[in-house]
Symmetry: D2
Subunit: 411 residues, 4 copies
Amino acid sequence: MGKGDIRTVAKVSLETPPPQQKILHNRWHPDVPFCGKIANGEVVKIECLDWTGGQIKNSDSADDVKNVDLTQVHYLTGPFEIETAEPGDILLIEIQDVQPLPEQPWGFTGIFDRRNGGGFLDEIYPKAAKAIWDFEGIFCSSRHIPGVRFAGLIHPGILGCAPSPEVLAEWNKRESELITANTLDRVVALPPEPQSVHAGSAEGEIKDKVGREGARTIPGRPEHGGNCDIKNLSRGSKVYLPVHVPGAKFSVGDLHFSQGDGEISFCGAIEMAGVITIKFNVVKNGMAEMGLKSPIYQPGPVEPQFGPGRHIYFEGFSVDEHGKQHYMDATVAYRQTTLRCIEYLRRYGYDDYQIYLLLGCAPVQGHIGGIVDIPNACTTMGLPIDIFEFDISPGAPVKKMDMGSCAYATY
Amino acid sequence: MGKGDIRTVAKVSLETPPPQQKILHNRWHPDVPFCGKIANGEVVKIECLDWTGGQIKNSDSADDVKNVDLTQVHYLTGPFEIETAEPGDILLIEIQDVQPLPEQPWGFTGIFDRRNGGGFLDEIYPKAAKAIWDFEGIFCSSRHIPGVRFAGLIHPGILGCAPSPEVLAEWNKRESELITANTLDRVVALPPEPQSVHAGSAEGEIKDKVGREGARTIPGRPEHGGNCDIKNLSRGSKVYLPVHVPGAKFSVGDLHFSQGDGEISFCGAIEMAGVITIKFNVVKNGMAEMGLKSPIYQPGPVEPQFGPGRHIYFEGFSVDEHGKQHYMDATVAYRQTTLRCIEYLRRYGYDDYQIYLLLGCAPVQGHIGGIVDIPNACTTMGLPIDIFEFDISPGAPVKKMDMGSCAYATY
Amino acid sequence: MGKGDIRTVAKVSLETPPPQQKILHNRWHPDVPFCGKIANGEVVKIECLDWTGGQIKNSDSADDVKNVDLTQVHYLTGPFEIETAEPGDILLIEIQDVQPLPEQPWGFTGIFDRRNGGGFLDEIYPKAAKAIWDFEGIFCSSRHIPGVRFAGLIHPGILGCAPSPEVLAEWNKRESELITANTLDRVVALPPEPQSVHAGSAEGEIKDKVGREGARTIPGRPEHGGNCDIKNLSRGSKVYLPVHVPGAKFSVGDLHFSQGDGEISFCGAIEMAGVITIKFNVVKNGMAEMGLKSPIYQPGPVEPQFGPGRHIYFEGFSVDEHGKQHYMDATVAYRQTTLRCIEYLRRYGYDDYQIYLLLGCAPVQGHIGGIVDIPNACTTMGLPIDIFEFDISPGAPVKKMDMGSCAYATY
Amino acid sequence: MGKGDIRTVAKVSLETPPPQQKILHNRWHPDVPFCGKIANGEVVKIECLDWTGGQIKNSDSADDVKNVDLTQVHYLTGPFEIETAEPGDILLIEIQDVQPLPEQPWGFTGIFDRRNGGGFLDEIYPKAAKAIWDFEGIFCSSRHIPGVRFAGLIHPGILGCAPSPEVLAEWNKRESELITANTLDRVVALPPEPQSVHAGSAEGEIKDKVGREGARTIPGRPEHGGNCDIKNLSRGSKVYLPVHVPGAKFSVGDLHFSQGDGEISFCGAIEMAGVITIKFNVVKNGMAEMGLKSPIYQPGPVEPQFGPGRHIYFEGFSVDEHGKQHYMDATVAYRQTTLRCIEYLRRYGYDDYQIYLLLGCAPVQGHIGGIVDIPNACTTMGLPIDIFEFDISPGAPVKKMDMGSCAYATY
């Protein structure tokens, strides 16, 4: 037989509750037991649930989003033992394909309630909302955001190897310092959370330990990558991941049919259950030889191409919506950039929540423009014209249309 | 004759000191007098000095960079009266070409001394340094950074219309508040500066007023654009600029042969004297009709294309080089991203200042990755493999080479 | 449920002999009975066998290619009744996805024996040969052609609606005139062939008629498209097909994992069994309104992108390999172009048949260069550098390697 | 001074008649004297007249086209002695820039009279016609073809080194055999032509010999390239040219602001006078080492990019407009392809000659589709949607507009 016959090393169930599926886990910890073994050089398929483990339904209400249980997330598939991998190596993975599960040809984009998760613009848009996206081959469209349709830049939001005890301790230390020092009226980081912990096949003491110490999967972290939410990590990409424990303990999840740079509404990508095909190679002593402290990657050759001239670029600066000047703050600038885009698209009849949802998941290009001209950072967002079924070019006539509504929560 | 005969509305001199050239100015103020008139619909050529007005020489010492007089910058060409333009309109400009001045076929990239200008990485790299770039048609190369050569993504760093008195007052107010509140051990913004003020043809009271009130040209600002330093604002781009005063008072300058996203070393682009060809059109009442608070643009069709798979992407997170966790700070994340790239390229024999210079001016792609996964912002930088004359692919063998040196200042 | 649940309107079997599968047929004729019905606006999945119906095996001998039975080809799936379609309409199809059958993750490229099918270079390379390609997600590689690996530009070789009796008569007339007038020592066209005819569910008189009159599926034809073998008709493409009979009688087949412009070895694409997802829309009276005599198409946004500078372009002219000057013959020129490429790649250790196979299936760009400079047509072929695992750039050192062998037939 | 100061090795005059300019010549012959010397490794600028030497005027009549003197063409600049180049070497040239002459910012596209030059569609469109194009930076537009505007893919139509006496003899032999055997009612090739011969600085016997033996510059030829009219040989391209005589005797000319694949109207590109910047390198013994019988090239990185989905592709087959079936004739197929495009665009109000002119010079993509499916070759032409100022998408409404007229000749 050809080498094309690819082994599936983990299957998920859409019926069994995620806590009962031993190939899943929802914390980063070195003691989560291996759920399978993969040879150096092997290509395998790995199935993943959507990151919430099925909490969000294909419906026209966003109550499920409003009430989502975030102590459960993210359900990742793994960890896998990669043969021959040792600390200091690099795990080179090639993403050969990502597909939705055939039995669930749809995904969702959510805006979380400001008091339960929040998002990039939650001070302006505090309510929960949702859009369901139907997949048609490489394309998707949504009954909740009419007038747009685009090809997915399909990718995993989360990839990474488990931290060593030392790396994990460093994470917990620096994040707890941030939490302690916090003076903002909002949650700035999430400490370990025993509730809803899922440590794969581990029970008892090990599971308790994972609950007490395990790092939440929400943030990406420099030492291993994790939840980077990089939209271009799509089919054909090669990623170089630092290895911190024997066997690597590689996990993957949070598959996205599409995402915009920044994934602004937090649950901003088109979240889906799916299957990813990966080739694994171990680069011995790669961290030192490649000079790597964080992952790097090379994209594949098949990103959707619109042509440079088929984008509208919005500019934003580090002066916030109250007129306050911030010092070189690219985060503030990018928030302004997204607001400029919302103002532009609002003219066609969309409501702001629809656009906020759209900018989280459509393949918008978020660029650092200038980051040295004190006091203003400048960022840009490139919106592809051709994802719209009408002409949004700056020169074209504007007509307000009936754009319906996204799904809202009851309040 | 054909309409291709394009009028040059402002010529610069490389010999006459910039303060004596009445078509130049170096502050944003509504009272800087018009230096010429352009019809609605007209295509014109405008010559510009390099942003420092010739302070930086084609030499192998960076003392000129170390001692640069920043009270003089930027020398802009303008302001021009655009016929029929009124406040509330949009000035639509099409950048039809940008070229170096034929008599000066070279440019420079500088790292400023930390105490005189500084830059994105000045806490780590505080010294002044410089690279001279020679132009060969669309390509450039530098004796100070051997082994690289690339096509320019040529563009103006600064474009904009003059502020109204009200807009100017707002700028001065919010920036002075930032200065007043500053607790950092560094300059965070620049107040109006009478020294070296150049108000075009204005003398006496008007010039004094421009000196007292005129906004510095260093930062871009949301209301008009200005020094956005957007590398993709290149040939063929259309930019939509808000108009705040009768006649628009359009100015342009700070031409770049090439720049990387962020222009990280502050004088990070390949700075040059040159000529820009622009078509002007007035969109009546455009600000309201297009919903614009800040400029937007559409790139042209001729950006250098390397293919998505011919980039190495580095990832950075908002954990700084001292291990401190910052909350969702994309600026910190992008600084880490650039450091990861420096560590990677260092292996080939470059010294860190050479790479710092290179990342300011080569067409690197700086992206917002994830900006919602508390507490870590994630940014990426895509480094084009094909600007190097040797193979920097992650899989290729690495050999340390003799890479010479960039130009340094004496200390 | 979401609209993403897509109906499969035709399933093929890899076990049942193709002549017994009623959803297949192998001639173009208006009397082949409908095998299913599709609504205007519907998205469906259609399964297809490889074009030979399984005659070629995953083996290291090309005897199967040498002895292929060409009276059977191509096995197409269809014809389908598209509701509301009438002669004069345009059938607008959107190719939403193409995938190999999961149970057969490999494909083949063949060079036919000169006396049984032949190919573009059969006067120089008359023997049968074969390469098997294994699929790894979006990539493929072959044990018969080491050192290359590329992403598929997956597409159907054949798409079209059935001819009307009048159109069919016109085909048979003009092709028989060519056959009659032939003075070349080779087969120039294929008349209707009763042997091995498969008319779907038709038996008896209708099947006999289809055998007597039905047009062979080998050539594409202007009136309906058919076997165009256009490599860019890939995922996301929209194709506008003329309708000649009530219900359109749409058929599809000859799926390719990848192909180069020209498909030079006749069985030159990577042939595979697979499933295609298509959306159907009827454009009433489209032929007249759109001014169409032949199909047109718009590609999708996800073609593999290598960057213009990552190709080597070979030039060929209408002077043949015997030094004879032909008049403006682009076919002769393209043959020379391919020979130039073979000579170039031969230096790395490949034998000519391996390269001939490769140029049929890798995504090479075949362009008309100049077609007006008497007497020489000039064509070019762009070979992507990045499909090779070693550096084939003109400037890189050349080393002859052991490249093994493709599969050959016994003689 | 920097190495950016580039020497101009040949200047042309727009006033002096071309026959009096010794840096020009209009035949390929080894005895045309060198007009300058260029070092191995040097970058130089070379000025060129338009290929007719100024016969075509910026006017609204095409009488100049109708009566053009083709015995004079093409006026090439050169030949240059490239130091160290010997027969068997490869001359590697890098095209660093191409620009129109600043004093002549316009170009022309012509359709030649069928009896004086003709073109690809001259049996259908036998009359002389013309369009003048005005340059606006990287863009061009024409008063003779309203509604289109595009960025130039600027390039030289002709590049090459002189033939050796043996190569020249081979050219003359094979082309005269074609002329002798001709039974078509049209000119199929052009023998040496003493009238209007221009042999640079040569007079007397040498000039006579060049007139008697010199090869016409109209066709490209495999041994040296010459008039290939390859639209992508633009800025940044590297071309590898065989050397046949000591010193290479390199010539260049026939500059094009833009061209479509095939340059279908013969004088189909936007012809212009201009200046080209080239870097020269000699690859010793390159013909044998690189396995080259004909030139090859690598494009630069800055071609206009529209995105694959922003093209409409027309299909054509080797069945001619009289319904006659030709055997695998890509030339016939490409003619049909262009006719399909004309029929499509005609609906907007253009007359056929305007479209014929447009398809010669706009950046249309002409591809070999299938070249093995007997008896039909299939070619495609990709028309970029975004060169039109209105929406020509197949789905957009069509309105016939007043498109004026191109320039016609009097008859």
